[in-house]
Amino acid sequence: MLNRISTYFYLRPKVVLALMLLPPMLWFLVVYIGSLITMLINSFFYLDGFTGKVIHEFTLRTYIKLFDPINLQIFGRTTLMAASVTLACIIIAFPLSYFMARFASQRMKTFLYLAVTLPLWSSYVVRVYSWKLILAQEGIISWFARLIHLDWLLQLYLNLPGVGGPSLSISATGIFIVFVYIWLPYMIIPIQTALERVPKSLLEASGDLGATPAQTFRTVLLPLAFPGVVAGSIFTFSLTLGDFIVPQLFGNSSFYIGKAVLTYQGTSGNIPLAAAFTMGPIIIMIVYLLIARRLGAFDAL
């Protein structure tokens, strides 16, 4: 009997394919793509300011709202934050990635790989929480600053407009540090993968031809690592754009995209504006991905 059924399907591979493909595709088309479409639809509705109800009527006025100076500022601030976080991640990740790819023994490499990915899989909220402990006014950073008698410098820094705040745990600097910490593994892995693919002979050839190590690094290694850097930056950039937890916990009153979206949909029930707002990071990311593809970043994934 089972043989019969098996043979029926064996002779009809297309039926089998359909049976295998249908459930996941249906799920994704309905649940995911469907949701994205409703988001798109919602972004063309608007919230009636008097009744507080969403009016189901095609309009562009929600999108026009995005161009309010205050909203443009939010986009600008978030993009700037994403860019600085990405840059910092590259700078911190590179030595470790380079060490992993070139110098570490196989055992060491396995260990380091685990050391990099483990935080990635440990709880995101808790990792954020740990910085609440570190950056607090009475926390380890202030303690350390007092220990080396540099607490006046920390205070001076916190008084700076733009980056400072009442304490590190309520400042743009705090947001920046936590973002770098949270997304760093996403940068290390692709760079390491890209560097791994650079054949050793290439570096030796460069040395042979008379390049100093610094020249080799700049003219051979860096260009070859570049696709990895771009791949990593896709993650750090995209994740920073869409996060609201960190700005919520470490920020003051200045909004970031994620926090704005959360606030609009939550407290004010303005889902159309939240949806339209989300188009911002989507468009920024699409542009970013197109550029990244041009630069060959997808070969390093």
């Binding site: 043989n3 098996s6 043979t7 064996y10 002779l11």
Partner: protein
């Protein structure tokens, strides 16, 4: 159909439709192939990669089905039977051993599926392990075996069901030369012991010549020639076969006419040509050509001469180094020579 035919192809074609960015269309992997393989034969499908030999084998196994035509197994049409309903087993190119099972479990797999009793199962596994000379290896994992040993396990696993036909898909390809030669002899021996029809796919002409009772030479999805190793070698009927199996001199046009009197293209094997002095007299039924030795390559067992014919064209001649030494043969360079070969040693090319 007479019972002595194990496998018969009746006008079998297999067409794949290819959809790619740069090209789309049909690829005829196997095109209108008809073929009979006799019971108990060691039959080789020989050809370059992409010639259709592996597709043909897969269609016999049931992994693939003909687009048109029929495949008969002892007279029964099996064209649309799934693999598990065909009394045919396969030794795969990569062996395809199940990594999560021991060697013994691998070999017993077919019996386990058939729900053969444990006692009989054990006995038959032991017999098989003896046959392939792996007695005592049943408890190991495939990953603990060498390439040659895995090969034997794959063979034992495929033979344990006593299939009517055993298919071997380039099973020796991954082995090094020494081991391969040893396995060639052993395979032949095992085939004679079990008396099962073996169908052997290979791209190695020497391997095919060594082992087969008969060979089918494939090219571009078609069969160029079927015959015994001697027939294929001595009398290739197409230019492809002459070039693919062994080394051949191909002569055509004016040059052919000067030698044979007709401009029909023909081939002659280098070792059939006798290298003589200008004045030497030919025996009866011999073709003659004259020329100058342009190049001499000493290869130990034999020497290869490249002779530039007077009327244009080159012939490669191979002579065993029976009495000569390297010093002697090198003297031949630049000499004028006369070449003889028996008329029966040439094959006229149909195409």
């Amino acid at each position: 159909m007479s019972a002595s035919v194990a496998i018969e192809f009746k006008n079998v074609s297999r067409i794949f439709s290819v959809k790619q960015e740069d090209q789309s269309g049909d690829v005829k992997a196997v095109e209108n192939v008809s073929l009979q393989i006799r019971d108990g034969e060691f039959f080789s499908l020989l050809g370059p990669s992409g010639s259709g030999k592996t597709t043909s084998l897969r269609m016999i196994a049931g992994f693939d089905r003909p687009t048109s035509g029929q495949i008969l197994l002892y007279g029964q049409d099996v064209s649309s039977l799934p693999p598990y309903e065909r009394d045919v087993n396969t030794v795969f190119q990569d062996y395809a051993l199940f990594p999560h099972m021991t060697v013994g479990e691998n070999v017993a797999y077919g019996l386990m599926i058939k729900k053969v009793s444990k006692i009989e199962c054990e006995k038959r596994v032991d017999d098989m392990m003896d046959l392939v000379q792996l007695t005592g290896f049943a408890g190991r994992k495939p990953s603990q075996l060498s390439g040659g040993q895995r090969q034997r396990v794959a063979l034992a696993r495929a033979l344990i069901n006593h299939p009517k036909v055993l298919l071997l898909d380039e099973p020796l390809g991954a082995l090094d030369l020494k081991l391969r030669q040893q396995m060639q002899i052993e395979l032949k021996f095992i085939q004679q012991r079990v008396g099962i029809t073996f169908i052997f796919v290979t791209h190695d002409q020497e391997e095919a010549l060594t082992m087969s009772d008969r060979i089918a030479v494939f090219n571009h999805g078609r069969i160029e020639q079927i015959g015994t190793p001697a027939e294929i070698y001595e009398h290739p009927i197409t230019q492809f076969v002459a070039g693919f199996v062994g080394v051949s001199n191909l002569v055509s046009g004016e040059v052919a006419k000067r030698i044979t009197g007709s401009d029909v293209k023909f081939s002659v094997r280098p070792e059939k040509i006798h290298l003589g002095m200008l004045g030497d007299k030919p025996e009866a039924d011999t073709f003659i050509a004259e020329g100058k030795v342009r190049d001499v390559i000493y290869l130990g067992l034999y020497t290869r001469y490249l002779v530039e014919l007077d009327g244009g064209g080159d012939l490669v001649v191979v002579e065993q180094n029976l009495k000569t030494t390297s010093m002697d043969v090198m003297q031949a360079r630049g000499q004028l020579v006369r070449l003889f070969w028996k008329k029966e040693h040439i094959s006229y090319m149909g195409d």
